[in-house]
């Protein structure tokens, strides 16, 4: 996380932490493991009141940020979500809200209002340009004044809880995005199992779903840049979230090493373990650094944003998981039980690694960029 927060950011972080500790402590999340939403009513609207949903939305649309860099501000929330293994559709709702804020249209703005207030959640699907082996299989075609959607998207976070779906599909003219109410006829939601117990995922099937042309987000066939931008935003938030979860797992394990005695000595006194903690600390600091750099670059639309996002997802995906698993190992048997809290963070980090491009996917992208630059040079 950022080394230096402005007073506004500091306050915002504090209130976020208080809300999470109050409404979504791990003890509560345990009870909600089989709950369809994973959080209790009112939690999400309370977060929306704090500003979770507003940071990527322009003031004209009722949003607003703290520092001028809304995504940087939001990455603070994402970090705390990771540190608390918090539930709720933060990533998807943020992506959809920012997309709607960038486009005109009465229907879109009405939906945006609902999302901002927390009354409605939203999710986006098919925004995975980094998973070449799993291409989106949603088709969108025109039929007179209407658009017809067919296909399947998976995994879609919080689809069960969302009222709006931002659908990315292939039209004959190119990538196209439309916003549809989830209640539209022809939409089927099938819950999926997932590694995480605090988040919810589903498969969404569209069968001749018809929406009016006002549902367009951006131009027909011209959503490629918008989709790329959305994917960057989502990846930045996932990265920040993973760093938060890494921090929590690491802190918990350092404490464990001081408290646990073996052969009459604290674990923290064994050099072989000390050196592993040192390695983990270096991964953790490096993850903070690249996560913050990616957030700042995407927020500023910097030239190296794409590279930094891929480096963040590649590095944090790889080392986040190794850190979490080494924390498990250092805990011993208790580390693989459901009883201990560690697994909440292990799950979060592991699942985040699989979303919006695996480390392998992002390394291919980094190579593409490196080779491209080389050729140009």
């Amino acid at each position: 996380m950022l080394l230096v927060l402005s007073p506004d950011q500091d306050l915002f972080r504090d209130t976020t932490v208080r809300l999470l500790a109050d409404r979504a402590p791990l003890s509560r999340l345990r009870q909600l493991q089989t709950d369809p939403a994973g959080y209790e009513p009112g939690y999400w609207t309370a977060g929306a009141e704090l500003g979770w949903t507003s940071l990527l939305v322009s003031e004209a649309d009722g949003g607003g940020n703290l520092s001028g860099d809304g995504l940087v501000d939001l990455s603070i929330v994402a970090y705390e979500f990771g540190r608390h293994a918090a539930p709720g559709p933060l990533v998807d709702t943020s992506v959809v809200a920012s997309a709607l804020s960038r486009h005109d249209g009465e229907a879109l703005k009405a939906a945006l209002g609902e999302i901002l207030s927390g009354a409605a959640a939203a999710c986006c699907m098919g925004v995975t340009p980094w998973q070449p082996n799993r291409p989106a299989t949603i088709d969108i075609r025109r039929d007179g004044d209407q658009l017809v959607i067919n296909g399947t998207a998976r995994p879609v976070e919080s689809a069960g809880q969302a009222q709006y779906l931002l659908v990315t599909g292939n039209a004959a003219e190119g990538p196209t995005q439309v916003l549809t109410p989830k209640a539209a006829p022809g939409i089927t939601i099938r819950p999926l199992k997932s590694l995480d117990v605090t988040r919810r995922f589903a498969e969404v099937v569209f069968q001749d779903v018809r929406v009016p042309a006002t549902a367009f987000v951006g131009a027909y066939g011209g959503a490629a840049d918008e989709v790329a931008r959305q994917a960057q935003v989502a990846a930045v938030l996932l990265a920040a979230e993973s760093v938060g979860a890494m921090e929590a797992a690491f802190a918990m394990t350092v404490q464990w090493a001081f408290d646990r005695y073996s052969f009459g000595r604290p674990l923290a006194s064994y050099q072989a373990l000390k050196h592993r903690f040192a390695d983990m600390k270096s991964w953790l600091e490096a993850s903070h650094a690249i996560s913050d750099a990616a957030a700042a670059a995407v927020s500023a639309n910097a030239a190296d944003a794409a590279e930094l996002v891929s480096a963040a997802k590649a590095y944090i995906g790889e080392y986040g998981v190794e850190l979490a698993q080494d924390c498990v190992q250092l805990h011993g048997g208790i580390g693989v039980t459901a009883e201990h809290d560690l697994h909440f963070f292990l799950r979060r980090i592991t699942l985040d690694r699989t979303l919006y491009g695996t480390p392998g996917d992002h390394r291919q992208r980094l190579a593409d960029m490196a080779v491209g630059r080389e050729k140009a040079a």
């Binding site: 998973q131 009459g264 292990l346 699942l351 699989t354």
Partner: protein, 426 residues
């Protein structure tokens, strides 16, 4: 075994042919869950345990149980080569997978090493018939790798002992019959001096068994609370306060684990559950079979499989013959743990974006993520890889032992934590 030395031993290849024929007629294919040991409900798990008892009985009735056990206790008195041949013939077949570890080793192995004649006659034949499943009451909450730091206490009361304390990480205690239990019988001497081992019946008053839920939802592992559990002195294994003599062999047998000549199992069955066929299957399901990166990972998983197999063969040959240190099983244990972790990671990597979420009907990919979450279990059970590294460095390479604060100190005075004061017996 001297009585048996007078008789000629059946030739290994003849034995193999006989085994092949018998196995062909008697042992079917393995069933789902045999190796993963995860069942969604208890009834199904109990049924699997009952089936394993039946499979062991089938081996016994067929004359193939306890191949390396002395004939005096119902075994065949044959050699490790015979056991290996039998296991090879059993490849790809069902076998009593819940009885291998810890029933046959370390438990039966410890009984053979230290049990009284009466104890051996009472339990070994019953184990070979599938009548007794054994567990290890060894680890304790907060005890970690330091098993000799047991704080479960046993106090003598006439010709009985009264045991109080708690044990943990006991696989299958809720469906097991007996256990070896390491307890402290003297708190006024140093750690290794005051231990004693007992045979404890698992289902009896005062012994409460709780289930531990693991990350993957399985609840095979248990925690036990012992309250005034009475054990006759005739169920003591080894001498009073000499429990660490027993314990050292116990740990040794545990490290040898599935590679023990006492264990009947299909060759290759436990070799990296996520080994070759599994990673290939995941690659195929994900349409990744032609990706050179995936092939690289498959090749790596396969390398670890093959190397691990031949490493175990080397150890199996070198330890008994004295060419390798008696501590060498720690090398196999370390390699196996690290290889299994890597193989779980490879499977997870190949599954890519599909590993995080799944539908029940997803095939092999459905459990790759959960296996990955559980991957470190391979570096914990049977002694952690950290302990293996200590053993290799200190016992095999002769490097200085770690300083410990619990040697030459009365156990009651050993530091056990920053805030805790020393625990004493009740």
């Amino acid at each position: 075994m001297s009585a048996e030395m007078n008789e000629p031993i059946e030739d290994v290849e003849a034995f193999r042919l006989r085994a092949r024929a018998w196995i062909g007629e008697n042992m079917g294919p393995p069933q789902r869950g045999d190796l993963v040991r995860y069942y969604p409900d208890d009834a199904e798990e109990l049924a699997a345990v009952t089936r394993d008892r039946g499979l062991q009985r089938r081996l016994y009735d067929g004359g193939f149980a306890g191949i390396c056990f002395p004939r005096a206790y119902g075994g065949l008195g044959l050699t490790p080569a015979h056991q290996r041949a039998f296991n090879e013939e059993l490849a790809g077949r069902e076998f009593p997978s819940r009885l291998t570890v810890p029933t046959f080793t370390p438990c039966a192995a410890v009984l053979l090493d230290f049990g009284t004649e009466e104890q051996k006659l009472r339990h070994i034949p019953a184990i070979l018939r599938g009548d007794e499943i054994w567990c290890q009451l060894l680890s304790e909450p907060g005890g970690g790798s330091d098993v000799a730091g047991a704080t479960t206490s046993a106090v003598q009361d006439g010709d009985h002992w009264v045991i109080n304390g708690s044990k943990v990480w006991t696989s299958g205690a809720w469906w097991g019959d007996y256990a070896l239990c390491l307890a402290r019988t003297n708190w006024h001497v140093s750690k290794h001096q005051g231990l004693t081992v007992f045979i404890v019946k698992l289902h009896q008053p005062g012994l409460e068994i709780g289930r531990i839920e693991r990350l993957d939802g399985s609840t095979e592992s248990c925690q036990e609370f012992l309250t005034d559990v009475r054990v006759p002195d005739s169920d003591r294994v080894g001498d009073v306060n000499e429990g660490w003599v027993v314990g050292t062999r116990w740990m040794f047998h545990e490290r040898v684990g599935h590679n023990s000549p006492l264990v009947t199992m299909a060759a290759g069955a436990f070799r990296g559950g996520s080994g070759e066929p599994y990673v290939v299957r995941i690659a195929r399901e994900g349409g990744q079979l032609d990706d050179p990166r995936t092939r690289d990972l498959i090749g790596e998983a396969r390398t670890l499989d093959l190397v691990g197999r031949h490493l175990l063969r080397r150890l199996a040959l070198g330890v008994p013959s004295g060419k390798l240190s008696e501590h060498s099983p720690a090398v196999g244990r370390l390699f196996g743990g690290i290889a299994a972790v890597r193989q779980s990671t490879i499977a997870f990597e190949i599954a890519g974006g599909a590993a995080g979420t799944w539908a029940e009907d997803d095939g092999a990919t459905a459990d790759v993520g959960m296996r990955f979450l559980m991957r470190q279990a391979a570096c914990m059970g049977g002694g952690t890889t950290e302990i293996s590294r200590n053993v290799i460095a200190e016992r095999m390479l002769g490097m200085p032992r770690e300083p410990s604060m619990d040697r030459n100190v009365a156990f009651r005075d050993v530091p056990r934590g920053p805030r805790q004061t020393a625990t004493t017996e009740a």
